[in-house]
């Protein structure tokens, strides 16, 4: 699918709603003068301008469901020594404006009319573009079977927990499995430890069912998971990946 010919002009976006997801993660909803929706998995570029003219640009994955032209949401994790994420998660308030262009990206995307099972594997804030896919799936007429395997360091760091549990409770073919890598609370029902082959065998949609797979997270996480999936017999072309490096400013 091509989106060639679309000119990604900068638009002045207005923050209209802000909510905390975890102690370090915040979701911001924007309205834009010319926004015509997006595909689940796409991202936007943000441009911030200081009074002295200094500008910073960053890319953020879109968190909200596709085809929702009224507003667009991103979810931002605060990077302690970052420049843009501390501003977005600390200083920005509803009513503030900044420049946005997009949506951008045509490969790491999912459309709800794909009936192949949807397998999502997230590390940390890598869940953001995958959440857009699950929200988009939730609005589709015949939701494709889907599974999310989601690795977080600690329970308090799980983004979208309440909403994910609500989506699972609909019993419409979605399963969500959490794993924690840095703690193991006594009342914890999910998995613990890093995602490995056993965990993928137990919770991931098997290769025989021909799932499309989206893996998003830190570089090492994505490398490891993709290697496991290949060993479990998934074809390379079915595995779409998005990595964010040690600079951490991506999501």
């Amino acid at each position: 699918m091509t989106i060639a010919g679309v000119f990604h002009e900068w638009q002045l976006a207005t923050a209209v709603a802000i909510r905390d997801e975890t102690p370090f993660v915040r979701t911001i909803a924007f309205t834009l003068p010319r926004w015509t929706g997006h595909l689940a998995g796409q991202h936007v570029d943000l441009r911030l301008t200081a009074e002295d003219g200094y500008q910073a640009e960053r890319s953020y994955s879109i968190a909200s469901a596709a085809e929702e032209p009224a507003s667009m949401e991103i979810t931002v994790e605060r990077i302690v020594d970052g420049e843009v994420s501390p501003f977005l998660t600390g200083e920005l308030v509803a009513g503030d404006t900044l420049e946005i262009r997009g949506p951008i990206g045509g490969y790491f995307t999912w459309r709800p009319n794909l009936q192949a099972p949807l397998m999502l594997i997230a590390g940390g804030s890598g869940v953001v573009p995958l959440m857009s896919m699950l929200r988009t799936r939730d609005r589709s007429m015949i939701p494709a079977p889907a599974a999310l395997l989601y690795s977080s360091r600690k329970r308090e760091g799980i983004i979208y927990r309440a909403e994910l549990d609500r989506l699972t409770a609909k019993n419409d073919g979605l399963t969500v499995t959490y794993t924690l890598t840095r703690e193991s609370p006594s009342d914890w029902q999910g998995e613990t430890g890093r995602i490995d082959e056993r965990m993928l065998k137990t919770h991931a949609i098997p290769a025989e069912r021909g799932p499309v797979m989206f893996v998003c997270g830190p570089t090492v996480f994505v490398e490891t998971v993709a290697e496991h999936l290949l060993r479990l017999g998934h074809p390379e072309t079915a595995i779409k990946t998005e990595r964010f490096g040690p600079t951490g400013e991506h999501s």
Binding site: T2, I3, H8, D45, G105, T237, G245
Partner: protein
């Protein structure tokens, strides 16, 4: 340009866009990895690099042959379309000019090339962006064989364009008559990708 209330440059931010850092970029000492799918692992005994034209392989080098071609070292800045730039990266490999010589091609067969890579990735480049020392096929980064995650055993290096043009795991350079979009170029990214003109996406000037 519209000022963003409350935003200012982080104190001690090492580099601001200017002579060395293209617009919209930030400098990082890290080397992030961005790839659309799994990392490729091609054994050297199965590796070759080829020139192709109209379906036909017109030159081909196996790994052992490739390593005997004239080696060039280059230190350069690189710029990724996802906004990071990395200064003073050091590479070794074979220039496109030397590949042309080794293939006994006096002039390019066509005005454009599309690079084909293990894993199916492609990217298009005008010959003008490859010649006169502008581009190389590199095998070493900081004096070590390039790691598979960063495109080893061999990747393109076209550092004056956004780094998606410096295709990882390159195996075949196909001479083509028209500037046909490659993988990212057919998904909304710019056909050429000059970071100094901020040609990130389709339609950017």
């Amino acid at each position: 340009m519209p000022v963003t209330r409350g935003f200012s440059r982080r104190p001690g931010a090492p580099e601001i866009p200017g002579e060395r850092l293209p617009p919209g970029q930030f400098a990082t000492p890290e080397f992030p990895v961005l790839t659309a799918g799994p990392t490729q692992h091609t054994p050297l005994e199965q590796w070759s690099l080829s020139f192709q034209h109209e379906g036909r392989i017109i030159s081909s080098w196996k790994w052992a042959q490739f390593t005997t071609l004239p080696q060039t070292e280059r230190t350069t800045d690189i710029h990724c379309v996802t906004k990071w730039s990395k200064f003073d990266t050091h590479w070794r490999g074979v220039t496109f000019d030397d590949l042309m010589k080794a293939a006994e091609l006096e002039s390019p067969v066509t005005p454009y090339v599309i690079a084909h890579c293990d894993g199916g990735y492609t990217t298009n480049l005008p010959i003008a962006d490859l010649r006169d020392g502008k581009a190389m096929v590199v095998t070493h980064f900081e004096d070590k064989p390039i790691a598979p995650t960063h495109g080893g055993p061999a990747r393109l290096l076209v550092p004056h364009l956004y780094f998606w043009k410096s295709a990882k795991w390159v195996r075949r350079l196909e001479f083509i008559p028209a500037n046909t979009p490659g993988f990212w170029e057919s998904m909304g990214y710019h056909l050429r990708g000059d970071p100094w003109r901020e040609q990130r996406y389709t339609g950017d000037p």
